[in-house]
Symmetry: C2
Subunit: 241 residues, 2 copies
């Protein structure tokens, strides 16, 4: 791949493509420190502005990552998670041979109100567990999950069970068969407290996912709000007409 | 709904719930200017910090919107689009009784490179249409779509056809049957040029959606990168175990 100054394709875009090709081919492996802007300028006889635009785009797209005073590095590719499959975070991480980790931030019993009560089909004020957990993959924080579960369904839920594994597993052990879920996805910005826990910048991009899970009896058993790191996650889906 | 100062639920969260309930009940309709922070403080005997935290959360979640010097308003609810259905933007807007609009930003023939070539199963340098369109609903900009189509499949594509309607319709008219698509979703930040076109803040949250569409013959006929406004869009999906 070369830079063709006579092409209709903008030069910054050609440079982006060239860098992406080198990442795809393995010439630029994950973690590599990229040549400096000056080196690209000299190698291709192009302006610093042009190089900068290509690099900034790739940083914003999450393919490169900048470390202040150190340089620009090839970022880890985002984890691509299949949307259609109804799995838990723990199961999903095991499937891709990553080490799932969970840090329990808090677990309390509180009254369900508003949106949470509606999603769970409860009356305002009925008791739910509120369980906030930081989910990790290979020791890297990936998502903050806030789960609400009617206590009537799982009267003996302990912090220990919650801290170590999948809530879906706990539900199954308690005799609840998971049948289906509805899920919404939104793009939003990390709040300061979320950014700190996820080890990302304040107001960095995150995916907000809300999921309500139903048992085979049609009862809502869990409502979860998850905040996934936008720089580390993408979701995939197949569509048929 | 009242504020209960003895509850384990934080007061700011109770106020958030209260405001959301009023939005749900119609007491706070879309476009309403909210009471001032001071009014909430006096009505419930709570601190300004507490009121501010509730309002900021709701603004960040897209339920309220702030206009400098004017006040805080009830925002339009996000458009919730079904993810599993393989429709075009035009068809989707018609289905929900919104007026679809398209503004053609540019249409050029250029060589496919890198990721685009790979997605379309083309050799590097083969010609594609690059079509950038601003998609609107009821005159409000919603998304920027950049579509790449191998020219061999649609040799007579005109700016007029592209500017007025659905590319899927054009494909069908040309005898291509659309069978399936693969799609990925990511959260990212709007670039300055995108933000201007979408009429949102620079670095506002956006959903980046990449879709590759295949014909019944298994040929990739279109690769589209879409940037959807995070403040106006959410995507929904049903899952079965």
């Amino acid at each position: 791949v070369k830079i063709d100054k006579t092409s209709v394709v903008p030069i910054y875009f050609q440079l982006k493509t060239l860098i992406q090709e080198r990442m795809a081919s393995g010439e630029y492996p994950v973690g590599l420190c990229l040549p400096s802007e000056r080196e690209y300028c000299e190698e291709y006889g192009i302006s610093r502005m042009t190089v900068r635009q290509a690099i900034i785009d790739l940083v914003n797209e999450g393919l490169l990552r900048r470390e202040r005073g150190k340089g620009t590095f090839v970022a880890q590719p985002k984890i691509e998670q299949e949307l259609q499959v109804l799995t838990s975070f723990t199961e999903e991480m095991k499937r891709r041979n990553m080490q799932p980790g969970t840090q329990l931030i808090h677990m309390v019993i509180c009254p369900a109100t508003g949106h949470v009560a509606r999603q769970l089909g409860l009356k305002d004020g009925e008791s739910v567990y509120e369980i906030v957990r930081l989910r990790m993959a290979d020791d890297e924080p990936m998502a903050i999950e806030t789960a609400y579960l009617p206590i009537a369904n799982l009267p003996n839920l302990t912090e220990e069970k919650v801290a170590t594994g999948s809530l879906y597993e706990v539900m199954r052990e308690s005799g609840h068969e998971i049948a289906r879920a509805t899920q919404t996805l939104e793009a939003t910005l990390a709040k300061a407290t979320e950014a700190t826990k996820l080890n990302i910048k304040n107001k960095g991009p995150v995916l907000l996912i809300e999921r309500t899970t139903y048992t085979s009896g049609g009862q809502a058993i869990e409502f979860v709000k998850s905040v996934y790191r936008g720089d580390r996650y993408k979701f995939a889906i197949d569509l048929r007409s």
